[in-house]
């Protein structure tokens, strides 16, 4: 007897919907037969039998949502093959890098007075939306608002987006404005920049920023520098967007965090939101911005739900950090996915009597140094958190500015939490070892507090 388990369709899938059964109890199946259909917010896929036998029982009925990966969904009686085969796709150990659920404190903490952009919750009515849908809504709204806005990239149209971020856009806007490109990053980034120079407002989606390395020449040499080199004549209102950083178990070439790379370059604006409200508000702001904007998303956040304001004109200003949790003892800076970890760490620290102030950087260029410096002058301690490598990184920049401009307020040497200085490994244990963790953040915060 073999249990058929809920398979993982992607490296980051944790659960899905059992959309359809093609077999019923008593049916004989052969290896390779399609027996069920599974859906996630990202993909739809058929499940094949991996062994011969007779379906003994359906354990999870059709239409069940939120079925966890590795849950037994049916039972197969032994067929001709005597030895039971391994369960389909399911890894023997659940990947440790899979993100934990949304921390409870997210977006519910009021910003201290003086913050230029308070969080949305509590001030306006909103609804729970995934980061994925918030990004899609931002693009759709801006495309309705401005005829010159269009989306181009690999699989953005008919496939509905490799990560389903552009779901439904082709149907609404048609192939003129939702352009499926060949796999040709260098080329289509150049076309996008050229179209922007001619006055259109392209959104160029990279399936991941790892692939944008093929296109980085156009992002930097063509998009970022031309306004300057033309004495202000040629503008380039373009958004380069897509997932950045480590997904789960996809190894070094698909896991890099490019925050520091792009934030290094004058002429670019660089945005890296954490929650859905910021993802939507900042993407709308980026599309309206007359400058080239690199918009770094995170695959691990796409499926997370947050409150998003109903305001159809909701935008978040580029260049403003957000204090997501006030605290008096230590400043934690983070962006993108690391904000969630910093908030979790702050929760743990609070139970130990340390009140951490969590700053969501939101924009990396221009970086909101003012909010960071003011916070450090209150807490006298800082730990920066980033997913990328530490050398020459975002934390290096923050710590340098703090050392230069708030030296007299510091009660402890600043610390940086970052990815281990090695290419990201595939092995589950090594990957977990390499990436920042809540535990490491807690440890560092306690260290700068001399506890």
């Amino acid at each position: 007897m073999t249990d058929i388990l809920m398979p993982a369709l992607s490296p980051t899938m944790e659960e899905g919907t059992l959309a359809k059964w093609y077999v019923k109890a008593g049916d004989a199946v052969r290896s390779g037969d399609v027996i069920a259909e599974i859906e996630t917010d990202k993909a739809t896929m058929e499940v094949e039998a991996v062994d011969e036998g007779v379906i003994e029982a359906i354990l999870v009925p059709e239409g069940t949502e939120e079925v966890k990966v590795n849950t037994p969904i049916a039972r197969l009686s032994a067929g001709a093959v005597a030895t039971p085969s391994p369960p389909p796709v399911a890894p023997p150990i659940p990947p440790p890098a899979v993100p934990t659920v949304t921390p409870p404190v997210v977006a519910t903490v009021a910003a201290p007075s003086g913050d230029p952009s308070p969080p949305p919750a509590g001030t306006v009515s909103g609804r729970r939306t995934t980061v994925r849908d918030a990004l899609r809504d931002a693009m759709a709204e801006e495309m309705r608002r401005d005829e010159t806005v269009f989306l181009m990239g690999e699989e953005v149209g008919q496939y509905q987006g490799a990560y389903k971020v552009s779901r439904g856009l082709l149907e609404e806007f048609g192939p003129r404005r939702v352009i499926d490109t060949p796999i040709t990053e260098h080329g289509f980034a150049g076309l996008g920049v050229g179209a922007a120079m001619a006055g259109l407002r392209p959104i160029v989606e990279f399936m991941t920023f790892n692939f944008a390395m093929q296109a980085i020449d156009h992002i930097i040499n063509s998009a970022a520098k031309t306004l300057y080199m033309s004495g202000g004549q040629i503008t380039c209102p373009i958004v380069f967007r897509g997932p950045n950083g480590a997904a789960a178990r996809v190894a070094a070439q698909h896991s890099q965090d490019y925050s520091a790379w792009y934030a290094h370059v004058p002429g670019l604006k660089v945005v890296a939101p954490y929650d859905a409200a910021d993802a939507k508000g900042l993407l709308k702001a980026a599309i309206r911005d007359p400058n080239p904007v690199v918009f770094l998303e995170h695959e691990m956040l796409y499926g997370q739900e947050f409150e998003v304001p109903d305001d159809p004109d909701w935008t978040v200003p580029i260049g403003k950090a957000l204090i997501r949790r006030p605290g008096r003892d230590v400043t934690l800076t983070a962006h993108s996915r690391m904000v969630g970890m910093a908030l979790e760490a702050a929760e743990i620290l609070s139970k130990q009597g340390v009140e951490a102030e969590v700053i969501d950087l939101r924009t990396l260029r221009p970086l909101d140094h003012e909010t960071i410096l003011e916070s450090v002058k209150r807490t006298n301690r800082i730990v920066s958190v980033e997913e990328g490598w530490a050398p020459m990184g975002v934390g290096a920049e923050i710590v340098a500015r703090v050392a230069a401009e708030a030296f007299d307020w510091l009660d402890a040497p600043p610390l940086r939490i970052a990815q281990a200085d090695a290419p990201l490994p595939y092995a589950a244990n090594l990957e977990a070892l390499a990436l920042p963790s809540v535990e490491r953040i807690v440890e560092a915060a306690l260290k700068v507090c001399y506890r």
């Binding site: 003129r176 040709t184 150049g190 996008g192 050229g194 001619a198």
Partner: protein, 343 residues
């Protein structure tokens, strides 16, 4: 568009009715434009030698017929984009020679206010989109200009110029593919001057007939005598018509030759002096037009001298402007980084 100021001045002989080929007026204008480029570039070379121009400076001498012949088929709104051998293109697009020369000297009066230099000049007014220093980048960017034309349905064509060296860059073929796939109105003009810096086309290219490079994308291409402005013009008209009528991209391989080095610091070891002399003597694009003008009786020695004098005056004025224009104000260091001056 093409400057035709000199063409009306020398109407002394009666035009011979020519059933085909060039007509008197445009030919005189082209002669004048080519001469302007020649004299301008010679002066730029001198200013470089005097230390007034710094960095890289790539002269267009020898290739004048291409920029001029293509310009003649441009319609209002058509865009031009090229690499770093760009001075000639800027002049025929209608940019002010003073501003071009002052950019070469890095002065406030330059078209990029001194912040771009020889390789990076632009004029939205003239439809000139640069001036790009990364070999091949202009091909993708130019295809993007065409994408914008297609998106807007404005009937305009983008002309993307690049050399035989750039023709080996990968993004050229990525662009070819999308241009044909989406029927974009772009004319690719390959200025094949035989040398990518110091590497001859035979040493760099497995297929040296560059007009065939679009074949696997189903893009038509033709080889053109790039030293003959009349031939360039005729081919350009065909190519532009093809692109403008929704038939997609077109490739023109212009066989040409640059007389000077790749840039000002060129060891000149990769070709013989005799080879250069041979082209100068027998294939010079300006001499060629001069011969037609004389032969047809469309201009005499005096008329040609008058054109030369006019061109020399423009160049002298530009050089003087470029010499006395002040350097940019130190505050310019931080302008034009972002629209809206946010940092």
């Amino acid at each position: 568009m093409a400057r035709a100021a000199a063409s009306g001045k020398s109407r002394k002989t009666k035009a011979v009715a020519a059933p085909q080929g060039p007509e008197r007026e445009p030919l005189l204008a082209w002669y004048r434009d080519m001469l302007l480029i020649r004299r301008f570039e010679e002066r730029a070379g001198q200013l470089y030698g005097m230390g007034l121009i710094g960095g890289f400076c790539h002269l267009y001498i020898g290739q004048e017929a291409i920029a001029v012949g293509i310009q003649a088929v441009r319609k209002p709104g058509d865009q031009v984009i090229t690499g770093y051998r760009d001075h000639g293109h800027m002049l025929v697009c209608g940019m002010d020679p003073r501003e071009v020369m002052a950019e070469l000297t890095g002065r406030a009066g330059g078209s990029s206010r001194g912040k771009g230099g020889s390789m990076h000049m632009f004029s939205t007014e003239a439809g000139f989109y640069g001036g790009h220093g990364i070999v091949g980048a202009q091909v993708s960017l130019g295809t993007g200009l065409a994408l914008a034309n297609s998106y807007r349905g404005n009937g305009n064509v983008a002309f993307a110029f690049f050399g035989d060296g750039a023709a080996n860059q990968g993004q050229v073929y990525e662009s070819f593919n999308m241009a044909e796939l989406w029927s974009l109105p772009v004319v690719y003009v390959i200025e094949n001057n035989q040398y990518a810096m110091g590497t001859s086309i035979e040493r760099s290219s497995s297929e040296t007939h560059l007009h065939r490079r679009g074949a696997s994308f189903r893009i038509p291409g033709e080889e053109v005598d790039g030293m003959d402005v009349v031939a360039v013009h005729e081919a350009a008209a065909r190519a532009a018509e093809h692109a403008r009528t929704g038939q997609g991209p077109y490739i023109l391989e212009m066989k040409t030759y640059r007389y000077r080095g790749h840039s000002m610091s060129d060891p000149a070891k990769y070709r013989t002096r005799e080879e250069v002399e041979e082209v100068r003597r027998n294939r010079d694009p300006i001499d060629h037009v001069q011969e037609i003008l004389i032969e047809k009786g469309w201009a005499d020695e005096a008329a040609l001298k008058a054109i030369d004098a006019e061109v020399r005056a423009i160049v002298a004025d530009a050089a003087e402007f470029a010499r006395i224009s002040p350097e940019p104000d130190p505050s310019e260091l931080f302008t034009d980084i972002y629209v809206g001056a946010e940092r």
